[in-house]
C-alpha cells in the first residue's frame, strides 16, 4: 500500500538561505515520516553520502528533498538517491518559493511544512519509471542541392556522417551555378562564381559519404522515435548516368528547341540537354514534356545510354535527421505590371542580367539588348516586391538586392564604361564591409538616385522611368534603353512543399521558421530537422554557407548526444485501442501517428499534456507516472495543513510558469504566504475534478498560469472557462478561479498577479463569510 511506504525527508539549510527564515527545528518536529535528516548544504558531495546512507539504513522507499527549486538541483538529487529510481524523489521548494519570498518566520515555517507535506503525499504516488533515451540514426538527408545543401552535406561527410542529397532538378548547383560573377566585400573585385563552386562540387562528388540523388523529391515523410522515413520519388532521366559520356552528340541531332530555364529562358536548348557545363551528374537528360520521341538521339548515342521509356520510382530513405536547404525563388514580375517586365524584352531582372553578363550565358557575356545593341543607359530599380506591403508584395527586405545591383553595375562599368548605370533606390543597405564596395561602385561612376519608381513605359525606342528624385523633391522622367529590376527573394515552391510534408513551422512569409530567432537560429520546431540557406530567409552565399556548416554541427550534436526524455508521456494500450485516429488529430504537438495499424506516439514530441487521454472513448491511453493521482495527492497534502483562518490559494504552473515564479524569489520580490505553487508537467493535466476537489476541500482560490506560446494555451483557456461555468452552475463563485498568462521574464508581473488575486480572494472570503 502506498500509505505504508517509508519516506525520508532531507532538509537543507542552504547555508542560512533557508534556515534563517524557516524554523527547521519546528519543521522537523512536525514531520511524521520514517526518517528526517538535515544538512547545511545538501547539494554538496557530502549530501550524496548522507542521502544514500539514510536510504540504505532506513530502507527508504521514497525521498523528499526540501531545499531549493527543482529547476536548480532536481538532476543532482535524482542522482543522489541512487540506487533508488530517480522519479521516486520529489523536491519541496522551500527556498525560491518560501524563504526568499516571505519574511514572517512563523508564516514561512508553516508554509514550508505545508509544501513538504504536499511533496510527501505526492511522492507516495510516484512510480519507478525510467527516462527514455532516444538514440537517433546517424544518417542525414539534406534536401536541396544548392550552395547551402552542398556545404552542409560536405561538412557532415567530412566528419564521417553518411549524407544523402536530394535534389529535384537534374543537377546540383542551385542558384549559385547561374549567378555569373560573385564578389566579396573585402576583395573589391568580382570573380567567377562557377570557379568557386566547382571545387566544392568536385569534393562533394568524390566524397564516399555522400550520395547525390537528382530528379528526386521527397513526397512523404513520417517520424518514428527519432527516425525519419522519407519516401522519395525519382523521376526518370531517360539517360543512364553510368553510360553517358556527356559527349553531346545526342543534343546535336535533336530537333526540338525550347527556352533554356537555366539561362532564365533567354536562350534555347534542346529537348535532350545538359543543364550547364559543369552540371552533376555529368550526363544529359531528356525533358520528356517537350520530347517528340523521334528517336534520333537514341540512334546517335554510341554508348546506348538513352532509354526513352521510364517511370517514376519510389524509394525509402531512413535517416535520423534532416537538413532543409530548399532555397528561394524570385518574385513573380506579373505582380508588378507597371514595370513592364512582361511587355518589354529589355526590362529584365538582376538574375537575367547575371546570365547575360555571364560568359556561359546566352550572349557569352556581352551586355546586349534584344536588338543586339549595347545599352546606352541601364536603370536599375530596387526593392521590387520587397519592402512592400501591398497585395502580393513582401514586407521584408530581401537583403541581397542592394549588393547584387552594385555588383552588376560594376560588371557593366568594367566592360562598358560608356554605358550609364543609374540605380534608383530607397535605402542602400551595405552593412559592415559591404559599404566599401558601395564606395568602390560610386568611384566607378555608377550613379544613384534616391526614389522608388512608379512605372516604366515605352516611348519610341526608349523606356521612360517615372520616379521622384526625393533628394531634390522633383518628379523626373528618365530615359533608358534597359531597365533591370531587383526582384524580391521568396521561399521556393520546394520550400513550401517540404514544410508541409515535414510539418515544420513557417513564417508568415512562408520561409522555414527557426525554433528561436535569437538563440536557436538553425533548429526548426521539429526535433531533428534543421534549416539553412535561403529556405530560412533571404541571405547571401556567405551567410548560406555559414548556416549550412552550423546546421552540420547541430546534426552532429544531435547524433552524438542522443536525447534523454522525461518518461511522463502517453502510452497506448493496443488491446483497447480501435485505431479510430481521434487522438492523432487531437494532438497539438503532432506526436501521434498511425503506423502499421497501430497508434504510435513519438516520445520526442509528446509533452504528456493528456489531451489524447481525455478524448479517448476506449480509455486506451494512459500517461506514465500516475500524474492524476500525484496532482490530487499534492492538493490534499497542501490542504491538510490548512489552519483556522488561513487563506490557501493553489497555483498550478508548468515548467515555464514555475521558472517565472522561481524568478520572483531569485529577485527577492515577495507575494502572500497564501500562494502555494504546484508544478505540473503540463497545465492541461490539471483536470476539472482537481479544481473542484480543491475548492470543495478548503482551497480559497485556484490560479492557473500558462505560457501563451504553448500550443495548448487556447485549449486550456477554454477548459478553465468551462470549469468556471460549471462551478457557477453549482452555486459556487467562479471568481475563485483565475487563468493567467505567464512569461519567464515577466516575473514581477506574476508577483503582482499573485498579490491581486490574493486580495480578491480575501474580499470574496469577507463577503461570503
Amino acid at each position: 500500500m502506498r500509505d505504508d511506504l517509508k519516506v525520508g525527508v532531507f532538509l537543507c539549510e542552504c547555508g542560512g538561505n533557508i534556515a534563517d527564515v524557516v524554523d527547521l527545528d519546528e519543521v522537523r518536529a512536525s514531520l511524521d515520516v520514517e526518517f528526517v535528516g538535515q544538512f547545511e548544504n545538501l547539494c554538496s558531495l557530502n549530501g550524496r553520502k548522507i542521502i544514500r546512507d539514510a536510504i540504505f539504513d532506513h530502507d527508504l522507499d521514497r525521498v523528499v528533498v526540501a531545499a531549493c527549486s527543482p529547476i536548480s538541483h532536481e538532476k543532482t538529487f535524482q542522482d543522489y538517491v541512487k540506487p533508488l529510481n530517480p522519479y521516486l524523489m520529489d523536491m519541496a521548494n522551500i527556498r525560491e518559493q518560501c524563504s526568499w519570498v516571505h519574511s514572517d518566520r512563523k508564516k514561512a515555517t508553516h508554509k514550508a511544512i505545508t509544501l513538504i507535506n504536499a511533496s510527501i503525499e505526492k511522492v507516495k504516488q510516484s512510480d519507478a519509471v525510467d527516462p527514455i533515451y532516444c538514440q537517433t540514426p546517424d544518417e542525414v538527408a539534406v534536401i536541396g542541392g544548392g550552395i547551402a545543401g552542398m556545404n552542409a552535406a560536405l561538412s557532415l561527410a567530412k566528419q564521417g556522417t553518411k549524407v544523402t542529397i536530394i535534389e529535384q532538378s537534374p543537377s546540383i548547383g542551385g542558384h549559385m551555378a547561374k549567378i555569373g560573377k560573385v564578389f566579396s566585400p573585402v576583395k573589391i573585385a568580382e570573380e567567377c562564381g562557377m570557379c568557386l563552386l566547382n571545387p566544392i562540387l568536385n569534393e562533394l562528388v568524390w566524397n564516399d559519404n555522400i550520395e547525390v540523388m537528382t530528379n528526386t523529391k521527397v513526397i512523404e515523410a513520417e517520424r518514428r522515435a527519432g527516425t525519419y522515413n522519407l519516401i522519395l520519388e525519382k523521376s526518370p532521366r531517360y539517360v543512364d548516368t553510368e553510360k553517358c559520356l556527356a559527349c553531346g552528340k545526342c543534343a546535336e541531332v535533336c530537333q526540338v528547341e525550347v527556352p533554356n530555364d537555366w539561362n532564365d529562358n533567354l536562350s534555347l536548348r534542346k529537348a535532350i540537354y545538359r543543364p550547364f557545363g559543369q552540371s552533376y551528374p555529368e550526363a544529359y537528360v531528356i525533358d520528356m514534356d517537350n520530347c517528340d520521341k523521334c528517336g534520333d538521339c537514341f540512334r546517335q548515342c554510341s554508348m546506348r545510354a538513352i532509354r526513352l521509356k521510364g517511370k517514376p520510382e519510389k524509394t525509402l530513405l531512413q535517416v535520423g535527421s534532416i537538413i532543409v536547404a530548399t532555397g528561394h525563388k524570385l518574385f513573380d514580375m506579373e505582380k508588378r505590371p507597371e514595370y513592364g517586365y512582361t511587355r518589354y524584352d529589355d526590362v529584365i531582372t538582376q538574375s537575367e542580367l547575371g546570365r547575360i553578363t555571364g560568359v556561359n550565358g546566352p550572349t557569352k557575356g556581352k551586355l546586349l539588348k534584344a536588338n543586339g545593341e549595347v545599352p546606352k543607359r541601364v536603370v536599375m530599380i530596387q526593392c521590387v516586391g520587397s519592402r512592400d506591403e501591398k497585395p502580393d508584395g513582401h514586407r521584408y527586405c530581401s537583403k541581397i538586392c542592394c549588393t547584387v545591383a552594385l555588383k552588376n553595375a560594376n560588371i557593366i562599368k568594367h566592360k562598358y564604361p560608356d554605358t550609364d548605370v543609374l540605380i534608383c533606390y530607397t535605402d542602400i543597405r551595405t552593412p559592415g564591409m559591404f559599404e566599401k564596395y558601395y564606395k568602390h561602385t560610386q568611384e566607378n561612376e555608377v550613379r544613384f538616385m534616391r526614389g522608388r519608381p512608379g512605372e516604366v513605359v515605352k516611348k519610341g525606342d526608349n523606356f521612360i522611368v517615372r520616379t521622384e528624385d526625393t533628394l531634390k523633391g522633383e518628379f523626373v522622367e528618365i530615359e533608358a534603353d534597359m531597365v533591370v529590376l531587383s526582384t524580391a527573394m521568396e521561399p521556393s515552391d520546394g520550400t513550401k512543399e517540404i514544410a508541409e510534408i515535414l510539418n515544420v513551422g513557417t513564417t508568415e512569409d512562408g520561409f522555414i521558421k527557426e525554433s528561436h530567432p535569437k538563440i536557436k537560429p538553425i533548429a526548426t520546431d521539429v526535433q531533428g530537422i534543421f534549416v539553412c540557406g535561403t529556405a530560412h530567409d533571404p541571405k547571401d552565399i556567405t551567410d548560406s554557407i555559414m548556416q549550412a556548416t552550423a546546421a552540420a554541427a547541430k546534426v552532429n550534436e544531435y547524433n552524438y548526444g542522443g536525447v534523454e526524455i522525461e518518461p511522463f508521456i502517453a502510452e497506448i494500450d493496443n488491446e483497447k485501442c480501435i485505431v479510430c485516429g481521434d487522438c492523432v488529430s487531437r494532438c497539438k504537438y503532432k506526436s501521434m501517428s498511425i503506423q502499421e495499424d497501430e497508434v504510435y506516439i513519438d516520445p520526442m514530441s509528446c509533452t504528456g499534456c493528456g489531451k489524447c487521454l481525455v478524448g479517448c472513448n476506449q480509455r486506451a491511453i494512459t500517461v506514465n507516472g500516475n500524474i492524476d493521482e500525484k496532482i490530487l495527492s499534492t492538493i490534499k497534502g497542501v490542504l491538510s495543513k490548512k489552519q483556522e483562518g488561513e487563506r490557501m490559494i493553489l497555483v498550478f504552473l508548468d515548467n515555464i510558469g514555475y521558472t517565472a515564479a522561481d524568478n520572483i524569489g531569485v529577485n527577492r520580490l515577495s507575494y502572500p504566504e497564501s500562494i502555494h505553487i504546484i508544478k505540473v508537467i503540463s497545465v492541461n493535466r490539471v483536470r476539472p475534478k482537481h479544481i473542484r476537489y480543491a475548492l470543495e476541500n478548503g482551497a480559497d482560490g485556484v490560479f492557473i498560469g500558462e505560457f501563451p506560446g504553448d500550443l495548448m494555451y487556447d485549449e486550456v483557456e477554454r477548459k478553465i472557462q468551462r470549469v468556471k461555468d460549471r462551478i457557477s452552475e453549482m452555486g459556487q463563485n467562479p471568481e475563485r478561479i483565475t487563468f493567467s498568462k505567464v512569461y519567464i521574464p515577466y516575473f514581477s508581473g506574476l508577483a503582482r498577479k499573485f498579490n491581486d488575486f490574493d486580495e480578491k480572494i480575501a474580499e470574496l472570503d469577507e463577503v461570503e463569510s
Partner: protein
C-alpha cells in the same frame, strides 16, 4: 531649432486618430521612398508633392494647413493604392483639409461649392453647383441645350423615378445634416466669406 519640449509627432498622431484614417499607423511608417510622387498626377503637373506632405506632417509642420498646394490633390488614390508601407497620402490630405477648415482656413476654397451643399440640404440632390454653369457652357458646346432637353431624353429612355426626391426624404436629409453640424458649418463659411465681400 527643435526645442526639447517640442513634440513633432503629435501632428501625425492627430491624423492617425482622425475618423477618416483607414491606414492605422501608416503615416508613421513612411520612409520617404517617393513612390507616391512617382505616380501622382498633381506632382507631375504642379508643385504638389505627396512625399513632401508626409515629411512635413512628420516634422510637425502645421503651416502645411495654410499651404495652397494641398488643394491640388486629385483624390485619385493612386498613392494610396501603391504605397509600399501602407500609408495613404490621399487620405492624409483629406484629413489635413478638414483640420484646415476647422481652423478657419480655406473657406474661400469651399465657397464655390456652397451650391452643392444647398441643393443637398434643401432638395436632397447632389448637383454640380450652378456657379460653374457658365464655364461649362463656354467649354462644352451644346451642353446647355442638352440640359434643357434632359427630361425629354430621360422620357425617351423610360427612366423613373423622377429626379426630385419626395418631401419626407428631403426633411430627413436636412435633419441629418443639421444634427451632424453640417448646416452650422456651411452657415459659418458663408458668413465669413460674404462678410469679407
Amino acid at each position: 531649432m527643435q526645442k526639447i519640449t517640442d513634440s513633432p509627432i503629435d501632428f501625425a498622431e492627430d491624423i492617425i486618430h482622425d475618423v477618416k484614417n483607414s491606414k492605422e499607423e501608416g503615416v508613421l511608417k513612411c520612409v520617404q521612398c517617393g513612390m507616391c510622387t512617382s505616380t501622382c498626377p498633381a506632382a507631375r503637373h504642379s508643385d504638389y508633392n505627396p512625399r513632401d506632405i508626409i515629411e512635413r506632417v512628420l516634422e510637425g509642420d502645421i503651416t502645411i494647413l495654410e499651404d495652397d498646394c494641398i488643394w491640388n490633390c486629385f483624390y485619385c488614390y493612386t498613392c494610396h493604392s501603391v504605397c509600399p508601407v501602407g500609408n495613404s497620402v490621399c487620405e492624409v490630405n483629406q484629413i489635413l483639409k478638414q483640420f484646415a477648415i476647422k481652423n478657419g482656413i480655406g473657406y474661400e476654397k469651399l465657397y464655390e461649392y456652397m451650391g452643392f451643399a444647398d441643393s443637398y440640404f434643401t432638395a436632397a440632390i447632389g448637383a454640380i453647383p450652378e456657379i460653374f454653369f457658365a464655364d461649362i457652357d463656354r467649354d462644352v458646346p451644346g451642353w446647355w441645350d442638352f440640359r434643357q432637353h434632359l427630361d425629354e431624353i430621360r422620357n425617351e429612355l423610360e427612366l423613373d423615378p423622377p429626379l426630385m426626391p419626395p418631401k419626407d426624404v428631403i426633411d430627413e436629409v436636412s435633419t441629418i445634416l443639421t444634427i451632424t453640424g453640417f448646416k452650422k458649418k456651411i452657415e459659418n463659411i458663408r458668413e465669413a466669406q460674404e462678410g469679407e465681400k
